[in-house]
Amino acid sequence: MRWLAGRVLAAVAVLWGAATLTFLTLHLVPGDPATVLLGGAAATSSGLREQVIAEYGFDDPIPVQYLRYLGRLLVGDLGESYQQQLPVTTVIGEQLGPTLQLTATATVVALAVAVLTATATAGRRLPGLRGLTSGLELFALSLPAFWLGTVLLAVFSFRLGLFPVAGDVGPTSLVLPTLTLALPIAGILAQTMRDGMDAALQQPFAVTARARGLSDLAVRARHALRHAMLATITLSGWFVGHLIGGAVLVESVFARPGIGRVTLDAINGKDIPVVTGVVMLSALAFVVISGVSDVLYRIVDPRLRTD
């Protein structure tokens, strides 16, 4: 119970911090907030400006504004997009689908690739394997997502004509973006998992399992993999960050609709409420995923279930 309370408190702290950060961003942008929110429209109509100042209460002292801002966030009101004249929740909600689709398939592919390579290669002394894996890791590290996506696009869409060039038109248009997002992540995950499995295969329980007559594959899949998953779950925070950041770039490369495009449009148009919304959403994603990973820890590792 105490554990749960601590978790919830930490989650609230992260969300509160993210809210504070976005509030600061709004007030750090050069120019007064009303002009910033309105963008170019402020110059043309002064009535609109007064309206915005009244609506947002920009005349009030900063602490009052801050508290009101937090109050609005608390009831899920992220404000209104000044570019689209729509509630931010609507703007983001409409574009959430394609991004969720992309990140979900990328997660599945990255995990599958990592699990397969780790299970197949851990603990084996194949000639050149170590060099190959560290080479691949370096490769994954040095390969910007936008660049990998561009190369895939050039080869598979333009040269071979296998996949659509751009946009979101059915499942085939999801293949290249998914690979672009998943492969670099899979590289790092595979490395971590493989190290975890190497360690697990040395443990007494692996030897015991083998002594019981289990096949090598069964030992790997049933016992060592579970152990290796622990290190992987630890990476989940990094994983979410990489997925969201990567999605922005990948969506831009493949001209896909989604949160990435919403974010870019908002930044270019100084549409701060939308930027705020995206930041809050990603903080929420982080909080949810780290909550889930805490639960997963307890499922995967029985030693943690004592309290």
């Binding site: 370096l138 040095s142 390969l143 910007p144 922005v248």
Partner: protein, 267 residues
């Protein structure tokens, strides 16, 4: 990694450094002036990497672009490490409340994706090379702060600091003379490895159109320009992207060599 690999990486990094400062040594062709008569020529003896849709030599643009990526890569890490040193030392020596506040803030910043953090900075500062540099620096700050703080905590408990305190030396002197050098040494090594990811993040921001604006020959922006020409001129996007990867690999290999060197020295 064998010594040959390290040597090659070092040479590549050296060449990139020279190209960043003296691009004229590698090419006579202009990087930004359009020459519409020779648009979209494939790679050949005249134009090694071909030309783009405005007839500009891609090789020349790649050479001239080295300075932006290296500036953002090394500059952002240097700025980030400098900032992290101040904040980290503040956390380590400023008392419990300050430490709590710093750790809490850094945990929050680590919760947000690095790219999103960088995008927030650019929302405030606007586009351009300086903005990208600052954005990348801020996005890598939390990791460095954690390192500085942890390292400073270790140094603070060391015997030589205790000895200095016994001698009655002032606090600021101990921090400046003993803690800072011993905290920074390992950080410089980690920082070098971080330059690679800083180059990638910086190029990514430019790819999104948030970096230096046209006609600046920035590698990420060049990949973005070439993306629309993939069906007719693959070379426009290929070579700048290759330049990014080569740079990152060279920096990372050199960083790891440095890491190894310092590890063998201290042990």
């Amino acid at each position: 990694m064998t010594w040959i690999g390290r040597l090659v990486a070092g040479v590549v990094l050296g060449v990139l450094g020279v190209a960043a400062v003296f691009p004229g040594l590698f090419t006579d062709l202009p990087a930004t002036e359009p020459d519409l008569g020779s648009a979209l020529l494939p790679p050949g003896s005249q134009h090694w990497f071909g030309t783009d849709e405005l007839g500009r030599d891609v090789f020349s643009r790649v050479v001239h672009g080295a300075r932006y990526s290296l500036l953002v890569g090394f500059g952002a890490v240097a700025l980030s490490v400098a900032g992290a040193t101040v904040v980290g030392l503040l956390a380590a020596f400023g008392g419990r409340p300050v430490d709590r506040a710093v750790v809490g803030t850094m945990d929050l910043l680590l919760a947000l994706p690095g790219l999103l953090l960088a995008l927030l900075v650019i929302t405030v500062t606007g586009t351009g090379t300086a903005s990208v540099l600052l954005a990348v620096a801020v996005s890598s700050l939390p990791g460095f702060v954690r390192l500085v703080r942890a390292q400073a905590m270790v140094v603070r408990r060391s015997e030589y600091v205790a000895a200095a305190r016994c001698l009655g030396l002032p606090r600021w002197w101990i921090i400046w003379r003993h803690v800072v050098p011993n905290t920074l040494a390992p950080l410089v090594v980690v920082g070098t490895t971080g330059v690679g990811s800083a180059v990638v993040t910086g190029a990514g921001l430019s790819f999104l159109g948030l970096g230096p604006q046209a006609p600046t020959p920035e590698w990420g922006a060049m990949v973005s320009d070439g993306r629309h020409l993939l069906d007719q001129a693959w070379w426009v996007a290929l070579f700048p992207g290759l330049a990014i990867s080569v740079t990152v690999i060279a920096v990372t290999v050199c960083g790891r060599a440095l890491e190894r060197l310092s590890a063998t020295r201290t042990s």
